[in-house]
Symmetry: none
Subunit: 399 residues, 2 copies
Amino acid sequence: MAVGLLSSLAQPVPQGGRILLSVLDGLGGLPDPATGKSELETARLPNLQALAAKSSLGLADPVAPGITPGSGPGHLGLFGYDPLTEVIGRGALSAAGVNFPLKKGDVAARANFATLDAAGKVTDRRAGRIATEVCAERCRLLSGIPGVTVVPEKDHRAVVVFHGKGLVPAVTDTDPQVTGVAPLACKARSAKGAALAKRVNAFVAEARRRLKAFPQANGLLLRGFDVQPDLPSLESLYALKAVALASYPMYKGLARLAGMEIVEGLADFGAQLKALPSALKRADFVFLHYKATDSAGEDGDFAKKVRALEAYDAAVPALLSSGADVLVVTGDHSTPAVMGAHSWHPVPYLLHAVRCRTEGAGAAFTEHACARGQLGRFPLKEGMALMLGHAGRLAKYGA
Amino acid sequence: MAVGLLSSLAQPVPQGGRILLSVLDGLGGLPDPATGKSELETARLPNLQALAAKSSLGLADPVAPGITPGSGPGHLGLFGYDPLTEVIGRGALSAAGVNFPLKKGDVAARANFATLDAAGKVTDRRAGRIATEVCAERCRLLSGIPGVTVVPEKDHRAVVVFHGKGLVPAVTDTDPQVTGVAPLACKARSAKGAALAKRVNAFVAEARRRLKAFPQANGLLLRGFDVQPDLPSLESLYALKAVALASYPMYKGLARLAGMEIVEGLADFGAQLKALPSALKRADFVFLHYKATDSAGEDGDFAKKVRALEAYDAAVPALLSSGADVLVVTGDHSTPAVMGAHSWHPVPYLLHAVRCRTEGAGAAFTEHACARGQLGRFPLKEGMALMLGHAGRLAKYGA
């Protein structure tokens, strides 16, 4: 369904209708070959399993069947945007994440501090995941380069913003995505990108000169060049005052692009949970992000992902008593621990509300049960219509 | 799927291929909190339950997930039209319902006779649901107003048709949808609507003068201004000669817009059933409308909706012996009794035909069983392709 139609039906409600979107990053999984059971099927999740019986279940495709989403498209889908039409470069995402507003003419890139050998070849794309403080120090060394701002993000990650007039992000990445080769030269994808490509290559060369003396984190890899995206806010689209409770910069950035208020200073999920009741008092829509499931999945650590799910489960009673009228528990994509990476598998989706069609006794919050659920299989972006509908926030369509 | 493709494949058949679309208005429900069972799960439906095992089941979204449809979009979907592109104002629907053909230049509005107090404020939007005869009498009192035709519909409902040249229905409703306030002035939504708005306000003022002496049904509320819609007929699209068996004007109107022959004078479902075998002899497609489920749902009367389902169940043998080759039992939208209103929940869909994939023993015609059915979850408009396909009315696509 088109966002325009949904937007035309969306209406504020005098009271109630509060939505809590609780996202377990990388939620979906695959069976451990030894047991034949997925992470969700292995974990002890008494609260989620009890909730499943009183909820509607389904499986959602973040982008489309077979497509593996990055975190950007996954979250755009969660927030009701079409990830196929709203394309946001990683650089713009990172800039939003560190709350660096891009002006007209600015182009941002996501940067990794990387380690290069004497021959200039990449030996570690993440420079041993240097501490954020070290990253900030390196950024300061690059701060004098004219026409460029370098902002530390987290660990080895930074944002590089090129200021100028008429800069067009039609350029290629310098990150080769593998070790053992030199960083790539930035090339224009079309004539329009030529000015930026020249600026990028000059900047990277100067940065290398200034960092060369370090044994580690002595080079920069840039990717995802983009300008400020122009996303309509959830408030302008659906009359939703939205608040984000996230601790990682990228998710804050995605929420900021959707026009959400960002609660700053939430170091971990415990702090996010503490902030939840007051957020639900002043907002219609709260986005609560849980990172641990994805981190464990990316590490390929099945047992750790199981523990992350069990830790989340302990928080479910707090979600249920938080004041939300509609609770959705889902993910932005699957990160099966047996793959150690994002995957194309659809994500389990649980919707709990007074007026939901419940699954009944015997339901479980697992990939298998969700595949047989009331909600069927649907594009993740349609979840916004489900949330708004169950919250009583959509007017009747037609006479 | 696009109507155009379906239409290009549709073909008449030498014999057989007769389709019976049996619509239980407001069919879908929600559990009674006391029992945890929906209306369909509570009712004793031996014939439908036996039929479910020999049928394909699914859940259909009349408009889109999360969207609550009016009766118009719901029926457009049932008849295979896209309710998002074919938008029909309530006035045009009502005009079709009373078989008042709108000419070029005519604009129709749905009217409620309402009761206003001495200060001109609405005290009852439906004037105590006056009898159709009283409504007809009031309409006659308004018949002399130049350039306007007022036609009684049913109970407190009427159709007001404004005749003219260059009238554009870009105007707002006068029905405030609440009591305790005066009827709204009709306003132009754009410059094109100015002429009509002036005509509407003059008419409403004159009507009020003529009705003022009555203690009840002494004012008019207008809504849903629209011109004659231009819907291609089921015959032109799919070579289907179609007949409608309905007792309520609005459903006759919807069927008429789809080009169906309307059998007039069917006072109730018993009369509709009697007319069924002969309709199926002369038609390829019969639309049989059952209102009682929606009325009970709208009244918020769970037990009454259960009884309405049981009364329908008793008619199922007659449907099965009526001569139809394909039988579909479904709804135009859900009207859960616990909500007392239309809702966004998808509707149960049962398709019975010689060549359907059957659900087998243990199947039931309930929301839960339909959610796990052979047909999956699909947009209601795609039901037309399912009906045509099972009726052998679609040519093979491609070599």
